[in-house]
Structures are given as structure tokens and as C-alpha cells.
Point group: C2
Chain length 300, copies 2
């Protein structure tokens, strides 16, 4: 249980097979499930904690992003982390960066088109973590489905010897996908926010019944969206994040929208197993998330 | 002395402190001086040999680029290489790549503006070598001054723990900078090509005499250029590759031009030592280069 502030120290601390769980902190059960998986499978589990400014397209979102170092440190170690890499900005960006990693095609739609520069920031900071820490395996939540596609492609195309392990989306007891940003939701906001997962589950039921037409699958989801400020409902190819007209390859059905000032995304993954389409709706907590355990966190 | 075709095997073979010398083959004394330096300083020296298609802006140039595997293998090992990493294209680019590394600002001028996509290809393939081989030190010839700036910035901004070691430009007995492409020059071409180094040396003499005005330094070089199809003469910042009006920081004076169908570049580096500007004119061979030792090479 060591906190390291530099790449050099973190790299030295990684012995044997090294698993990395990149996070922006304010950990919840989604992060902890990734940390526990890494801890069970690897010799060293490194959790990185850095709120990366280059992936925020909205300065207000960066400003209010929840932060609580002591809470994250304790949670990471209790979940099985061996090393917490918590760099400050001068370690990550010692000078104005001129080099960055761009991922074409996968970033043309959805989050890529709606959040200019977001995926360049993500691909670049993850490349830096891979370059500077040299992990063997890295864990990413499926809640950010397009991000999983982008990171997988980045690692392959830049020849990083890192295996990407996606982890199931963890949901709150009522279906809402866990996100550090959920702490901003009022009770009324939550009711609206549930339209997203409710829509995804309705579409999932249709897929279970054999539907493969994208327009009908998306319509089933849209039917449940009422007051939410919707940005998109999109069936997309898991590997390329390109829109699909028909469910004919591993895919995800993704939704984005805003409740008040809080933007939320969610999706269900659809994989082929034993000749059938199987929807991964994620896993649901039995109890209230640890996100709300203490109220000292947001804005601190 | 092992030839490896995959990143995984090459990475396993690198024990202790690992030095990497990236090349596109058809080795000459410039490459061999880098290999010898690495061999003297590191536990393992890896030479990579790959004619990288993504950094060629001209398909004809890629097509006729000289290749001779057996010659390169023997030269690399005799100079001190422990491992020759010679991947085929399916190892380097198993699929159409979608992710790449872009380096802004440093690529705005000179080779960056004249060869579209060239430095994106260079930065990306070097990032792949750093990611897949994990060297501690990497060696690049100063003959490609802007490339040294681009690679140094890429390594820093992507947090690769790789020290970049530039090596002095090695010149033929008459001053012509060594380049694998020199094998294409006829005797008449060589006379024209010498205008480049001759111009650089005239400008260097002026700098030795205390001149710091870029226009006058560049003019001294231009005075020696006659029949050559000149593209640019430019004094530029070593760190940023930006044009300079005045020699007031570490710089290089760069020239590019064509002789017949062969494009050539050259430069002298200018460093500050003991309060004076000192020009690095490179090192000159006493004899005819090994490039011309056998005529079985070009086009084979």
C-alpha cells in the first residue's frame, strides 16, 4: 500500500504481472470491481488517480468534478490496490504538450462528435499511463463503451503490449449506471435519469425477443425517454464505434443526455454467444452506492 | 546475435539497460556509429530494421528505397548489435491503423510542411518501437535534425521513459552527408549535391566569425547553391524546429533540395559552449563510404 507521485517510482513498484486501473478518482463500486478483478489476477495492481484536464471539453465540468484524495486512497487499498499512482499536473504535463494520440473513425460519432477533443485527451493520457507505467493488463468499465473501443484500438495500433480488459457496468439498486457525476443529482433528477436505463432495458428485452433492426431497437429505448434532454440513442459496432443499421456483429446500444446541468451516458453491450445475441445489462447493487455514504465529498 | 521478427520476442531479449537504434536499413557509417555508441553504453543493443511505408509521402521514393537484408544484418552485428528486430509489415501494421501520434508546431515548417504526413508516420512508428520494445535509450542521427526534435518531444509528451541520444552527422570524404539515398547519385549528381554541404560550411565559418543574423547566415549558404533544385535554407530552433531571425538559442541550419530524382537534406547543429556558438559540422570519413562497397544493393 504505497502512494507514488511519479511515473518512475510507480514503474519500479510494479513487479511480476502488473494490472492497471486508470481512474479520475471519486471511486465507486464500478472502479472497485475493476480493482478487485486486477488484484485477483495480477501480481501488482496499480490504480492511477488523475483528473485529466485535456479530456474535459467543458471547463465547468472539470471545475466541479468531485475530488476527495483520502477517500479514494482508502477505497483503492481496501479493494486490493498495491500502488496508488497520484501524480500532480507537473508530472503529467511538465510542459504544454505538443504531441498527442489521435484515433480516427472510432471518434466520428456519439461522444467523439459531441465532445470535441475528448477522445484525443483520453487516448493521449492512457497512452502516457501505458508508456510510463508499462502495465501488462489494463481495466476499463464498459459503461464508457466508446472509450473501451478507442483505448483498445490505441493500444493495438501503437503496439503497447497491454491487454485491455473491459468490466461490466455496475448499476445502482434502481438501474442507474454508476458514475462519479451521480452525486450531483437531486431526487427529482434521479427520476429523470432513470429514463436512460429504463429505455436501455426495454430495448434489451426487444433484443432478447429476437429483434435485430436498429431503428426498432432504438425506438424501444426512445419510448421511455420523456423529460430527459436527450442527445442520442445509437446502436453501434463494439469494435469500430460506427452506427449500425442492423444488429449483425458485437454491438452496444448507447444513450447520452442531460438532467439539469449533469450530462449522463449509459449503454448495454450485446455479444454473440452460442448463436444468440446476449445483452449485458451490467450488474446491479443491492444497496445504496457508497457514492452517497458521506456528503463531504463533492466540491471538496 | 539474434534476428527477431516480433515485438514480443524482441522485448524478451532486451535484458539490463536496453539501447535501441531505429533504422530503415541499407546501413552506412552513420548508423554504425550509433550502434557502436549504444553497444559501448548499454547491456543490450537492439537495431530495428523496417522501411516504414507510413512516413513516405512519395510512393516512388518508397518503391525504390534501397533494401538488402543480409548486408544490413551482417553490418549491424559487426558494429555491436545484439538483436536485429526485422518485422514484416503484418507485425507492424496487422490492420489498417486508426490511431496515430501527431506532433504539432514542430512539424509546421521545413520537412513537416513539404512532406505531408511524414512526421506523423515517423512519430507513430517510433512510438510503436518504444511501446513494443521498451528501450531505455534510443539513438537518432543529427542529420535529420527536425526528426530529432519531433522524436524528443514525442517521447517527453507521451511519458516514454526513453532517453533520446542524438549522434553526429557522418559525412563522406568530400563533405556530403551520408544517406542511404546517396547510392542513387551519379558522379555528376554528386558535384551538384556537394553544394549543400559546401553552403552549410560557408555559413558555419560566418557563425565562427560571430555572425548571429539569420538572414546573413542563410545568405552565406545560399551563395554556394547553384544548379541544385533548392527547397529551403532555414535557421531553426533545435527544441521547437521554429524558424529563427537571430541565433540566440541552440539551433540548426538546415537545407533541403533535389538532385535529379533524389531529394537530399542536411544541416549543421549550433550549440552554446563556454559562452560561444559552436558549430557541429559532423564527422568526415577518411575513405569512400561502405555504401558503395558493393553494387548489388540498390533496387534489390
Amino acid at each position: 500500500m504505497i502512494v507514488a507521485a511519479t511515473f518512475a517510482e510507480t514503474r519500479r513498484l510494479g513487479s511480476g504481472i502488473v494490472g492497471l486501473v486508470p481512474t479520475m478518482g471519486f471511486l465507486h463500486e464500478g472502479h472497485l470491481s475493476l480493482i478487485a478483478r486486477s488484484s485477483a489476477s495480477n501480481d501488482t495492481t496499480i490504480v492511477s488517480l488523475f483528473v485529466n484536464p485535456t479530456q474535459f471539453d467543458d471547463p465547468a465540468d472539470l471545475e466541479r468534478y468531485p475530488r476527495n484524495f483520502e477517500r479514494d486512497r482508502d477505497l483503492a487499498f481496501s479493494a486490493g490496490a498495491d500502488v496508488l499512482f497520484a501524480p500532480d499536473e507537473s508530472e503529467m504535463y511538465p510542459r504544454e504538450p505538443l504531441a498527442s494520440v489521435v484515433v480516427r473513425q472510432l471518434t466520428d460519432h456519439m461522444e467523439g462528435s459531441l465532445r470535441p477533443g475528448h477522445f484525443e485527451g483520453v487516448a493521449t493520457v492512457v497512452a502516457k499511463l501505458f508508456a510510463g507505467i508499462q502495465p501488462d493488463v489494463a481495466y476499463f468499465g464498459r459503461k464508457d463503451a466508446q472509450q473501451v473501443s478507442v483505448v483498445t484500438t490505441m493500444a493495438r495500433d501503437l503496439s503497447f503490449p497491454v491487454q485491455i480488459e473491459p468490466g461490466a457496468t455496475i448499476r445502482e439498486y434502481d438501474g442507474l449506471a454508476l458514475s462519479s457525476r451521480n452525486v450531483f443529482l437531486s431526487d427529482a433528477d434521479r427520476e429523470q435519469a432513470l429514463e436512460i436505463s429504463s429505455g436501455l432495458f426495454a430495448a434489451s428485452d426487444l433484443i432478447d425477443d429476437g429483434e435485430t433492426d436498429a431503428a426498432r431497437i432504438e425506438a424501444a429505448c426512445l419510448d421511455r425517454i420523456g423529460d430527459l434532454d436527450l442527445e442520442y440513442v445509437q446502436l453501434a459496432d463494439q469494435a469500430t464505434a460506427q452506427p449500425l443499421d442492423r444488429l449483425d456483429r458485437p454491438a452496444f446500444l448507447a444513450v447520452a443526455g442531460s438532467v439539469g446541468a449533469t450530462r449522463l451516458i449509459d449503454n448495454v453491450a450485446i455479444d454473440r454467444m452460442n448463436g444468440q445475441w446476449v445483452v449485458d445489462r451490467g450488474e446491479r447493487l443491492a444497496e445504496r452506492s457508497m457514492l452517497y455514504g458521506e456528503n463531504d465529498a463533492a466540491g471538496s
